[in-house]
């Protein structure tokens, strides 16, 4: 009760004294009850209404602890996975050290063939052990299998280790928004997919209304971020903004634009440019000019290639918005005039051969399915930039050659083993071509016209072809050079004179290195395969070493030893990366544990009762109650009636 009100009173009735005493006793009892609750529960806050601010802090801290517990669990899981990977990689480095030692010891000229043959057996053992490590399971999951955790990433096919795993990262949240990978995939660990073939087509894809804006690389090659743009139609002087945020496809964007323009009374229309379907076009009336701007810090107009202006009466032609190829991209949209694949391609991977028929294929996915369905140890996919198809050789040590099946499909797909841009240094298993001074080889065409070819300065396959064709032209020969339909070498063709086409060395082995040394027919000299795609990873190097040991080939043993040393460095690098990631996880783990401890301390400070204070207050409350009882009993007992006779 409000004691201060007693100051205004003129009289105190018996019932007032009773009322006051009861109120006081209730308050005393309530205080004791609350303190009892606090002491028995150990909590300072019994109800959120006691202290809303503290209650909110408690709620948020409990949530924060839950989140931190989740992160801790993730970090511990990641740390255990990385620790297991780290231990396995250490085994791999030991095995590689052993292989490198054997290569080094056997590269000299003192070792006998028998000794080398016995060392080859040890190399086979190392290959088996490496395979076992790569296929190691941890917590019932294949440690290096990527996201394919239920099957081993490596198997053996035709006596060769073949990659059948996944290349993807397994990631976990290390804070509320950020994820980090906690796995190492065997392909990156053992360098099984360093090089890929193909991906050189640079497909130019036409636009259509169904294409997702997310599938456009954008005019600035940074994608398309849908947002508002400002359009001005000069002439009638109409300015309007179009918000493209809700657009998912190009068709949506075009419809939104045209609808907004019509509503604004503008004659401007947006569409795909029929003259160049990789671009957009804005048109307006004959007396109008067009200007498109980005607003609000957005880049939508620039991304769509239409942040520009046109003169009066002229359309505004955008720039190429670089549509990516995706699984659903129709072949008919690939320029020029659709990607026609009437003949198919041939694939040779070691002893495995396949001819791929693309009949009926309508989309990129169909093409990939046909290639991947060949079962010759390859993996076809869209390249990272989204403008070509790349092929990986999954089998260690085999030569992969992709060529034509009587047409140009492989070239059009950009997956022919050799193409104009292939470096000469990559030919012959990486040994390259070694031109000398002056003419390197002599060609005699079917009419007996003979001419020398100098390829010094040539760096690519196309440079060699250009050099041969130029020399033929100077000599008046009808002979022409191109890439062999097989895909792995050169081809010389002529119109069919009386003599067979022939090529001779001129003091250096360039003709042999180009695979064209020798004699063909009167119309064709189809060179030998000099370029193939061979996996450059650890198993390829070990197979090379093993084969060299068996063949008692010292120089090849040296080359293989160099390969192994290179891979050793890479694996050590990977080991370092794993160590760094593991260290990062451990650091985060410690930080998060510290944060949890700090949060718990803070929570305890806010939520838990201070027993010393609570017990002291309890004693005070007890005293107060006792005082109230005593004063009340005394006060109520006083009455005039006690003194009346």
């Amino acid at each position: 009760m409000n004691i201060s009100s007693a100051g205004n009173l003129s009289r105190v009735s018996t019932s007032l004294r009773t009322f006051t005493l009861i109120s006081q006793l209730q308050r005393n009892t309530l205080d004791i009850f609350e303190l009892e609750q606090r002491i028995s529960s150990g909590r300072e806050i019994l109800s959120i209404s006691d202290d809303p601010i503290a209650a909110e802090r408690i709620t948020r801290m409990l949530k924060s602890l839950d989140s931190q517990d989740q992160i801790l669990l993730n970090l511990r899981h990641a740390d255990s996975q990385l620790a297991a990977a780290d231990a396995s990689i250490t085994e791999i480095t030991d095995l590689l050290n052993e292989a490198a030692r054997i290569a080094s010891e056997q590269s000299g000229s003192l070792q006998s063939a028998d000794e080398r043959a016995s060392q080859a057996v040890i190399i086979d053992g190392i290959i088996d052990q490496l395979t076992n490590v790569a296929n190691r399971e941890f917590q019932s999951q294949y440690l290096f299998g990527g996201r394919q955790t239920d099957s081993p990433p490596l198997n053996t096919r035709l006596g060769r280790v073949t990659f059948v795993g996944d290349r993807g990262d397994r990631r976990t949240l290390v804070n509320r928004e950020f994820t980090l990978p906690f796995n190492v995939t065997v392909d990156s660990l053992l360098q099984l997919r360093r090089d890929v073939v193909g991906g050189t087509s640079n497909f130019v894809v036409e636009l259509d209304p169904n294409v997702r804006l997310a599938d456009l690389n954008g005019a600035g090659d940074r994608g398309v971020t849908p947002g508002p743009i400002r359009v001005t139609e000069g002439g009638p002087g109409i300015t309007f903004d179009v918000d493209l945020s809700a657009a998912a496809t190009l068709g949506d964007a075009i419809a939104l634009f045209n609808d907004t323009a019509a509503t604004a009374g503008s004659s401007i229309t947006l569409g795909i440019n029929p003259a160049d379907p990789t671009t957009l076009r804005l048109q307006a009336g004959p007396l109008s000019s067009i200007q498109v701007q980005d607003i609000g810090g957005n880049s939508t107009a620039a991304d769509l290639g239409i942040r520009s202006s046109s003169s009066v009466g002229a359309p505004l032609i955008g720039s190429n918005v670089n549509r990516r190829i995706t699984q659903t991209t129709p072949l008919s949209a690939i320029e020029p005039s659709g990607l026609s694949l009437p003949n198919g391609v041939t694939i040779k991977n070691g002893d495995l051969n396949a001819t791929v028929d693309f009949t009926g294929a309508a989309t990129i996915q169909d093409v990939l399915n046909r290639l991947n369905g060949t079962d010759v140890g390859i993996y076809a996919a869209i390249n990272d930039h989204g403008d070509g198809i790349q092929i990986e050789n999954l089998i260690a040590g085999t030569e992969l050659i992709i060529g034509e099946n009587g047409g140009t499909d492989a070239a059009r797909l950009g997956i022919k083993t050799l193409n104009g841009e292939t470096l000469l240094s990559s030919l012959n298993g990486g040994r390259g071509v070694h031109p000398g001074t002056g003419d390197d080889f002599r060609i005699t065409d079917s009419n007996g016209v003979s001419f020398g070819v100098d390829i010094s300065g040539a760096a690519t396959i196309q440079d060699v072809i250009d050099a041969i064709n130029a020399a033929a032209g100077v000599a008046g020969s009808t002979l022409a050079a191109d890439i062999s339909p097989s895909g792995g070498g050169f081809r010389l063709t002529d119109l069919g004179g009386p003599n067979p086409i022939s090529v001779d060395n001129l003091g250096n082995p360039v003709a042999q290195e180009l695979g064209i040394l020798g004699t063909g027919t009167t119309t064709e000299l189809d060179g030998e395969i000099v370029g193939s795609f061979k996996q450059s990873g650890i198993f390829t190097a070990l197979y090379r070493l093993r084969d060299a040991l068996i063949a008692d080939d010292s120089s090849e043993i040296t080359e293989a030893g160099s390969d192994i040393q290179r891979i050793q460095k890479d694996v050590i690098n990977i080991l370092g990366q794993v160590g760094a990631r593991s260290k990062d996880m451990q650091d985060r783990l410690l930080q998060t544990e510290d944060a949890v401890a700090a949060t718990q301390a803070l929570l305890s400070e806010v939520r838990d009762v201070d027993f010393v204070e609570a017990v002291t207050r309890f004693q005070q409350a007890q005293t107060a109650l006792q005082a109230s009882l005593q004063t009340g009993a005394t006060s109520l007992n006083l009455s005039l009636f006690n003194f009346l006779g």
Binding site: M1, N2, A6, L9, R11, S13, T14, S15, L16, F19, T20, R43, L46, S47, I48, S49, P52, A55, E56, T59, L62, K63, D66, S67, D69, Q70, L73, N74, H77, Q141, R147, Q148, T149, D166, G168, R170, R171, T172, L173, R176, E177, F182, N210, A246, A247, A248, T249, G251, A255, D259, T328, T363, Q365, D366, N369, N372, R607, S639, L640, L644
Partner: protein
């Protein structure tokens, strides 16, 4: 002037002091009677005859017996009673809601939300583990059970409030009738009398106080002693007539039962102002409804946002057939048209259907466009089904007679979904984790409950891909449109914070109102309460006065006897 007159003076004194003695006795008798107003007898000398030497009085009489009451204070007291009643009911209601939600408990709704996301967190690390998938479903079911229980308790509390309102209204109606009856009796009792019918008035004051506990009332005492009573602008009691109060059951905008107060006489609404019923109505329509709405929002956010991510992911196996959990009311209207009846309307976007040839493993991806920009032809359920059937090889989509979309693969094929930016799959209940649309209807989709392989932890066919689970986990702290731009965790924290502030405010308001009531009660007791010491003094005074009068009568009697002796 004579001895007879002298005796008459003594007689009036005896009568008067008997009366004052009786008044003191009445006060003493009611010292502990609640609401009793002490009475005081007011004595006045009876004017006498005038003589040449002056005037001689004719004794004393009780002029009136008045109640010691301050009517203005009584009115303020009744207002304070109303305020305290409203504040205490509101405080108690919020305490009860707090008890339901248990914001500081270890196993409250927030903890179960954390458990659910914790299980998804585990799933991102071990998506190939069937046990982990089972835990996700189990924690979801526990969460759903808690959401349903919480809703059930809130609705039960609402019904309890309705019941309390009904009881209070019925009692108030009785009280009003009794007040009207007392009005009549007081008027009759006080008619022509020079005093007040104290007991009747005390009784009426108690009833007015009881009515004030239920409603905020205004009173106007009439010259004849009757009190007219008003609730807001409505007259409830006029003299001897009560217009009656009744509790009427109606259905509110959310389809929930609500009890409202109406006048019996004309069925008109009653503005409650303050008082217990106002507190109960506020507890029901503001605090309880707020919590139900918040729970609905949380459930809706959980359902839609989880489903939106889940429906674009993949489980450990594809579908041979799947039927949407959510029917469309009209399959010929745009999916975002209210006539379609979808609780979570989709938007313009795309999704993919990946069809797998189970024999060869080949996958064919098809893009499905959902156009809902209101320009040209928008996507309807019928057109979506036709689009899928036409464009997705080896897959047929059908709109069932119950308005659900069924998608089936040809024999030897299975299908999965990916990258749904339209939200159409979540809206239609296809490949979703939850079913329902609010805290009443939320459930785990039988599809995943019966086969945890369908928990979409992955974005790819790889069993160890937990990327979709990662996206699901991240939802707990992501601002989402369904919750007005806050995250699920933030929504929960804000709800608890708002409840804490409301509860604290109600508690403070109750304390403040109680202080005022206490203060006024003290003042009332100071004015109207009985003090036994005072009454003892009054008793002695009356006793001594009576003794004096009696002695005086004796003296007069002796004088008369002396006079009579002379006559003999």
């Amino acid at each position: 002037m004579g001895l007879g007159s002298a005796l008459s003076v003594g007689r009036t004194a005896l009568e008067a002091y008997q009366a004052t003695l009786q008044v003191a006795g009445q006060n003493i008798a009611n010292v502990a009677t609640p609401g009793y107003t002490r009475s005081s007898a007011r004595l006045a000398a009876i004017p006498g005859q005038t003589f040449s030497f002056g005037q001689l009085g004719n004794g004393v009489r009780v002029n009136s017996i008045r109640r010691n009451i301050n009517e203005a204070l009584q009115a303020r007291l009744r207002t304070a009673v109303s305020d305290v009643a409203a504040a205490s009911v509101e405080r108690d209601a919020l305490n009860q809601i707090e008890g339901v939600l248990d914001p500081l408990g270890d196993r409250n709704l927030g903890a179960l939300i954390s458990d659910f996301f914790g299980s998804l967190n585990d799933l991102q690390n071990t998506p190939d583990n069937t046990a982990t998938r089972g835990i996700v479903v189990n924690t979801a079911q526990s969460l759903i059970q808690r959401i349903r229980d919480t809703r059930g308790q809130l609705i039960a509390f609402r019904n309890q409030i309705n019941s309390e309102i009904t009881t209070a209204v019925v009692r108030s109606d009785q009280v009003a009738t009794e007040i009207a009856d007392l009005n009549q009796r007081i008027v009759v009792a006080e008619a022509g009398a020079n005093g007040q019918a104290s007991a009747l008035r005390d009784q009426r004051d108690l009833l007015l106080s009881e009515l004030a506990d239920t409603f905020e009332i205004q009173t106007r005492e009439q010259p004849n002693g009757a009190v007219n009573v008003y609730i807001g602008n409505e007259s409830i009691i006029q003299f001897g007539e009560s217009f009656g109060l009744k509790a009427v059951s109606e259905v509110d905008d959310d389809g929930l039962a609500q009890i409202v107060v109406r006048l019996k006489i004309n069925n008109g609404p009653v503005s409650t102002g303050a008082g217990r019923i106002a507190g109960l109505i506020k507890a029901r329509d503001v605090h309880n409804s707020e919590q139900v709405n918040r729970l609905d929002q949380l459930a809706a956010g959980l359902i839609y946002e989880i489903n939106r991510v889940h429906s674009g992911g993949q489980g450990l196996e594809g579908f041979s057939t799947i039927t949407g959990e959510t029917p469309v009311d009209d399959s010929t209207v745009a999916l975002n048209d209210p006539l379609a009846g979808l609780a979570f309307p989709p938007q313009t976007g795309t999704f993919f259907i990946d069809v797998r040839d189970d024999a060869s493993g080949e996958v064919v991806r098809t893009q499905i466009n959902v156009n809902l920009d209101g320009i040209g032809t928008d996507t309807t359920l019928d057109s979506l089904a036709a689009d899928i059937t036409t464009n997705v090889p080896n897959v047929t989509a059908t709109v069932l007679s119950n308005g659900r979309l069924e998608i089936s693969a040809a024999s030897g094929f299975s299908f999965t979904f990916a990258e749904d930016s339209s939200g159409a799959l979540a809206s239609l209940g296809i490949n979703t984790f939850f079913t329902g649309e609010d805290s009443l209807t939320i459930g785990v989709n039988d599809l995943v409950a019966n086969n945890v392989d369908y928990v979409a932890a992955s974005s790819t066919p790889f069993v160890g891909d937990g990327s979709n689970a990662t996206a699901l986990v991240a939802l707990q702290d992501q601002a989402v449109a369904t919750l007005g731009g806050v995250s699920l965790n933030e929504h929960y924290a804000t709800t608890m914070s708002d409840l804490a502030v409301a509860s604290s405010s109600a508690s403070s308001a109750n304390d403040a109102a109680s202080v005022i009531l206490d203060s006024l009660t003290v003042q009332r007791e100071s004015v109207s309460g009985v003090n036994l010491d005072e009454e003892a003094v009054s008793l002695i005074t009356s006793q001594r006065a009576y003794e004096g009068a009696a002695r005086y009568m004796n003296v007069v009697n002796e004088m008369l006897q002396t006079l009579m002796t002379l006559i003999r």
